[in-house]
Symmetry: C2
């Protein structure tokens, strides 16, 4: 019999991040995470394949806010405009209230090579997902991949700024500025 634990998933995620940040990722076990919120190890594994996946549990939702955004962009939007639209839509996934969590998560990831590789994989999937959405809109290759990966780069640069100490602007504001930087950089020279 599988009992339903209301909010168990989220409580496990918060407890895991806290333990990873204070004790270290390697030093924390799934049993300890479960115990911290009064659950069993067995319950932990009903929600997550392993302790690493706790940090990547929102990946499907994360990815779909971008691809849904790309699908919802105005039909006359260019490839880059579609990507900008997708990033703006997806920025609702990162409201300012989430900034402390995102900042702590980043600290944990940067302290562990395996987590860094996993994060790279997530970003590579994001690029592939956005490129697929662009192709579905009739944008040919290599434009679809170039625009999608440019979007992932902009997101990455803007996200790191968003979680920087003292930063108060919204992710959408920073992304808009970074897109402008990219446009200036790639202006053809005479």
């Amino acid at each position: 019999m599988v009992r339903w634990e209301p909010g168990a998933r989220e409580r496990l995620q918060v407890a895991a991040l806290d333990l990873f940040a204070t004790r270290g990722f390697e030093q924390t076990t799934a049993a300890e995470i479960a115990q911290a919120v009064g659950l069993t190890e067995r319950t932990f594994f009903r929600y997550f394949a392993d302790k690493r996946e706790v940090l990547f549990a929102g990946q499907n939702v994360f990815q779909s806010v971008f691809t849904d955004g790309a699908i919802a962009a105005p039909s006359d939007a260019s490839a880059m405009e579609t990507v900008e639209f997708a990033l703006r839509e997806a920025s609702s996934f990162f409201p300012n209230e989430r900034r402390p969590y995102s900042r702590l998560r980043q600290t944990v990831i940067e302290a562990n090579a395996g987590l860094q590789e996993r994060e790279l994989l997530k970003m590579a999937w994001l690029g592939a997902g956005i490129a697929g959405a662009l192709r579905d809109r009739g944008i040919p290759e290599p434009s679809a991949t170039l625009a999608a990966e440019a979007g992932v780069t902009v997101f990455g640069v803007a996200f790191r700024q968003w979680i920087a100490d003292g930063e108060e602007r919204s992710l959408a504001e920073i992304e808009s500025e970074v897109f402008q930087h990219l446009r200036i950089l790639t202006v053809p020279t005479a």
Copy 2:
């Protein structure tokens, strides 16, 4: 006593790729790779930390052809021009004679999730390395990272085209075309 085996490193690399491609990466051991070229497993481990690293042994040289290129670019080159110069210089690392090896290596990597993660890490390091070279030229952030990662994206797209069936153009030619695509994509719209 450590005996010097002339060309052992290269022979091991060629034998490893051949075994990975025919038998599969997981199914091949370091001992078998060594045996294929008449060497011992012990000799194998004098050259490579493990069988995965055989596929990434050239990474330091790979990275430095790009960063050396960025350093050697004309002093008045813009950030993107510096990146284009770096990619053009680095394309000498991939002469057409190397195409069959690169093609086979890609096939092996695409068949294994762990190798794909390792390849992503290599490309992330490449981006960070080029960004560092750009900052050393006085290019500020976020321009340095944006230009460097745009360069890595162009390289990736061009490289996949370079190893595509039937492709005969040089990597430099394809890169130049992909840069042109990127410029058109990012042109500010009215």
